[in-house]
């Protein structure tokens, strides 16, 4: 395999494996926030603000994987083609 093919496989693995953890975590966070809002609707504004910030934190992990994948594809230090 050439370095390009290995890079493409690496990028695919990075995104697909790296998206699993944040997906589970976001699902759990939203489910917990829904439950809390259903029990205490008066706490909904502060809950949703915390939820958004927390989701952004969790989502960052998936974004890191995406950035790594794009670095592999577009700024690969080992491929001297482009």
């Amino acid at each position: 395999m050439t370095i390009e093919q290995i890079s493409i496989i690496g990028a695919v693995v990075a995104v697909s494996v790296g998206a699993i953890g944040p997906a589970i975590a976001e699902g759990r966070a939203v489910a917990a926030a829904m439950e809390a809002m259903a029990r205490q609707p008066e706490a909904a504004p502060s809950l949703s603000r915390t939820l958004f910030v927390g989701l952004a934190m969790i989502e960052t992990m998936a974004i890191y994987c995406l950035v790594v994948a794009l670095l592999i594809l577009f700024a690969n230090p080992f491929a001297h083609v482009r």
Partner: protein, 228 residues
């Protein structure tokens, strides 16, 4: 590659002597002119009995003030200029990528890096200003001195993740739109563009809220310290 450029490329528009002026910088200048000129025009004739435009403007400023005040309980009003400007600029900058032939400046790594550097500096300056240099530095050695390296590391990594989060979200949205446009056709990415608009507003909100949370953490909850 189907007509997509690397997201790490910097298109140079022209150069002033040794300084290369890139496209995101020019777009940022245009946004600054738009926001500054718009603010000047809208606040030029303020009246006690507010008209329609002024009411909308007051609603915007009051909402921003309220949101910041909830995160920074004491002295949140003083951070309204910084955080409010940050929010408005980010909303306009993220949405500017939807205009034809314009790429959002936040979709390049450099603009989020500059904004994150502004947040980093203002966090530490406000912490030192509120609590003095010794008091602020002592906070890094809490709860024990062994956590000092981790606390210092987290200062860097959270600023870095602030930058990467904004860049990654905006850039990936534009990237997906470009790919779908190349694959499918002219009007197919319209729903994706709507989603991108929503993502841009949410990311602006998150960036501003996180900046406010960091500043509030640097200011410290003085009431709690006094009671404990």
């Amino acid at each position: 590659m189907i007509g997509t450029h690397s997201p790490f490329d910097l298109p140079v528009l022209f150069s002033l002597g040794p300084v290369a002026i890139t496209t995101p910088v020019v777009v940022t200048w245009a946004l600054i002119a738009l926001l500054g000129g718009g603010s000047w025009l809208l606040t030029r004739r303020l009246q006690l009995r507010a008209g329609r435009t002024q009411t909308a403007l007051e609603l915007l400023v009051t909402t921003l003030d309220q949101q910041i005040g909830e995160v920074i309980p004491d002295g949140g009003r003083g951070y309204l200029p910084l955080l409010g400007t940050l929010f408005l600029f980010l909303v306009v900058a993220n949405a500017s990528g939807l205009l034809p032939a314009v790429k959002a400046p936040t979709a390049h790594l450099e603009t989020p890096a500059a904004l994150a550097a502004v947040v980093f500096m203002s966090v530490h300056v406000s912490g030192v200003r509120r609590r003095g240099l010794r008091g602020y530095l002592r906070e890094f050695a809490r709860p024990t001195i062994f956590l000092l390296p981790l606390n210092l590391l987290s200062e860097v990594t959270r600023t870095f993740s602030l930058m990467i989060r904004l860049f990654g979200n905006v850039m990936s949205g534009e990237f997906v739109i470009a790919i779908v446009l190349g694959l499918a056709g002219l009007f197919v990415p319209l729903p994706l563009m709507g989603l991108e608009l929503l993502t841009g507003i949410i990311q602006a909100y998150i960036f501003t809220t996180l900046a406010a949370v960091f500043i509030a953490a640097a200011l410290g909850d003085t009431r709690k310290e006094r009671s404990s």
